[in-house]
């Protein structure tokens, strides 16, 4: 029995690193072959969410700047190894898609002055290392305002995968938006703890609906279909996130809080290529066109004219700086 337990532990450990096959390396015939850009993601790039949008940004760098690209999943102790190996292979920009890549990046940047290490969020910088933070909270804030307007029950819900700071921060912004619009609204928060467990996401959503929620926003990445299916079964509307999910087959996605990664990624890569990069923390939000809140044209009839007007006004206020959406530092 002991042998079996040991073996099971080994199996679990192996499972943890099973999905780390390096992604394809591809380049383009023309352009500067010496300009190489790498991306590290916490999960598979086919998650239709967080990691997928970074991968699309990387592809844009290849297509628009002719860079040679490579990507890999790297978590925990693998992060430092992956960063060093990319730097040794002459990559000029190593992008880590998450706050957990910030500290290793700043640390390793000292040994590789010719490589720039940038992470998605995080607070530390060096001469050739820094962070780049998507202000998705802006989109979630607008989502909260819309949710409060559309909800009849006065209860809305947020369904998250793993409980990580970046997700919690967007949820806080959603709640702030909802409460600003309707102070007595109840906002339920449920985490499944898993990023790919569609069934758990569906179950959490059903539970939230059972407790009265009639509008659901998510941060469930690849498991998002579970959220939408639960909403479809119970006849409830949902708000998509990260990618524009308005076209989802479930037909319940009334709007999406979207990260448009491409322009921000390309701009950063250009700065690195031209030697203009200086370690900093860049906040990219609606003003840079990196964040958007898109209403589904097919379900526009479900959104009252007054609400659409309100969302436009708030968007203008965010752009002018009159409204600063709350965000956590992490």
């Amino acid at each position: 029995m002991r042998r079996i337990l040991l073996a099971s532990a080994l199996v679990l450990a192996l499972m943890g690193c099973a999905s780390n096959e390096p992604g394809p390396t591809s380049g383009s015939a023309e352009g500067r072959q010496d300009f190489k850009v790498a991306l590290l993601t916490p999960g598979p790039v086919n998650d239709s969410g967080w990691s997928a949008l970074a991968y699309e940004g990387l592809l844009a760098i290849r297509d628009e700047l002719g860079a040679e690209i490579s990507n890999q999943e790297a978590k925990g102790t693998q992060i430092r190894d992956a960063m060093r190996s990319y730097a040794q292979r002459g990559f000029r920009l190593v992008f880590g898609h998450g706050f957990e890549y910030n500290e290793p990046g700043v640390e390793i940047a000292r040994d590789f002055p010719d490589t720039v290490f940038v992470s998605s969020s995080g607070g530390k910088t060096a001469k050739n290392a820094g962070a780049f933070r998507f202000y998705l909270e802006q989109g979630f804030y607008l989502g909260g305002v819309m949710a409060a307007d559309l909800s009849k029950s006065g209860v809305v819900a947020m369904i998250g995968g793993p409980k990580v700071p970046s997700i919690e921060s967007t949820f806080k912004a959603f709640e702030a938006g909802a409460k600003a619009e309707r102070p007595d609204i109840r906002v339920l928060t449920l985490f499944t703890g898993q990023d790919s467990d569609v069934a758990a996401a569906k179950r959490a959503t059903l539970e939230a609906i059972a407790q009265g929620a009639d509008l659901v926003i998510h941060q469930a990445n690849a498991a998002a279909q579970g959220v939408f299916e639960a909403c479809r079964e119970k006849g409830v509307l949902a708000i998509g996130s990260n990618a524009n999910q308005n076209e989802n087959e479930s037909g319940v996605v009334v709007a999406s809080a979207v990260i448009v990664a491409k322009p921000a990624f390309v701009e950063l890569a250009k700065d690195v290529r031209d030697g203009r990069y200086e370690g900093s923390i860049r906040l990219v939000g609606m003003d840079k066109g990196a964040i958007d809140f898109v209403i589904n044209p097919k379900l526009e009839s479900r959104v009252p004219e007054a609400t659409r007007k309100k969302l436009d006004d708030l968007r203008a206020k965010i752009l002018s700086g009159a409204l600063v959406v709350p965000k956590d530092e992490f």
């Binding site: 086919n46 928060t189 703890g193 279909q225």
Partner: protein, 288 residues
């Protein structure tokens, strides 16, 4: 109340099917660590077949067959030959994770896609497999405890030499146990894709195969026990979500751990006299 129970049963069915099959497998002496990979690959096959044919029943059958195929692979290595069952099962898990990931990406693009597949019909929360699962558990219990076939299967896992001495073939019974394990894990994976989720996502089984292995132990190697254990865990999982939603200020990390903490506790008190099949995971070599 009935509706809650039905929902719990539906969400527990993928794990329960795998656990019932694996109970039969372990009683015959074969440990199939590869349940997780079997469920994942079957979920993928079921989802893809249902998507292309438009027929979820075809998807369900394909999922079961995929599970059977993987069990045959384990059988070839572990029953026909004497390979280490733990090593083979581990390999199977890695193979399934890699294969489904690669196929999924080649079909739906590197950055993935959310999609739905045709689902099996449901009446409320009941579908054909969540109704069948408890019956299968009872059937398996009856087979194990009340038939000569079951006696021989159990003997293959307890004392294979005695089976041989009685003129019966140990490999044959172990093959049958393994087939039950593989095909039911396959149906479990198919159920996860075609009933519970209505889609496929990379690594969507999220450890259900490993939980099923634990449930076999929790159920003390009884098919009905394994099914009951899955229901209990499933109930606790839905309870923790409802506690999270009620926002009583209990840390969510603690609530997520609740089902597992509770089952550990139960394990410490339930059926302490029962032990695992004596020849479990031991390859059988016929005496010369």
């Amino acid at each position: 109340m009935i509706e809650t129970l039905a929902a719990v049963a539906m969400f527990a069915t993928p794990t329960a099917l795998a656990a019932i099959g694996e109970t039969l497998g372990q009683r015959s002496g074969v440990l199939n660590i590869g349940l997780e990979g079997t469920m994942l690959l079957s979920a993928f096959v079921a989802a893809m077949v249902a998507l292309w044919s438009g027929n979820p029943w075809l998807g369900l059958v394909s999922g079961g067959l995929a599970g059977l195929g993987l069990a045959a692979l384990v059988g070839l290595l572990c029953v026909a030959r004497d390979a280490d069952q733990v090593v083979v099962g581990t390999g199977l898990n890695l193979l399934a994770l890699g294969l489904t990931g690669a196929w999924f990406r080649s079909l739906f693009g590197q950055s993935g896609q959310l999609f739905t597949v045709p689902t099996l019909p449901k009446a409320g929360s009941w579908d054909v497999l969540s109704v069948a699962a408890p019956m299968l558990a009872l059937l398996a219990l009856w087979l194990l405890q009340r038939t000569y076939w079951g006696l021989t299967l159990r003997a293959s896992g307890e004392n294979p030499v005695a089976v041989e001495a009685a003129g019966r073939s140990v490999p044959r019974y172990r093959w049958l146990g393994l087939m039950a394990s593989g095909s039911l894990a396959g149906l479990g994976g198919a159920h996860l894709a075609l009933v519970v989720s209505g889609t496929f996502a990379e690594n969507m089984t999220s450890g259900r195969g490993f939980v099923a292995l634990a449930m076999v132990t929790f159920g003390r190697w009884s098919p009905v026990g394994a099914y009951a254990a899955c229901l209990l865990i499933g109930y606790l999982e839905s309870l923790q979500f409802s506690l999270q939603a009620s926002g009583r200020g209990v840390p969510q990390e603690l609530l997520l751990a609740l089902p597992y903490a509770a089952s550990l506790l139960a394990l410490a008190f339930v059926g302490r006299g029962v032990r695992s099949p004596a020849a479990l995971a031991t390859p059988y070599r016929r005496a010369k």
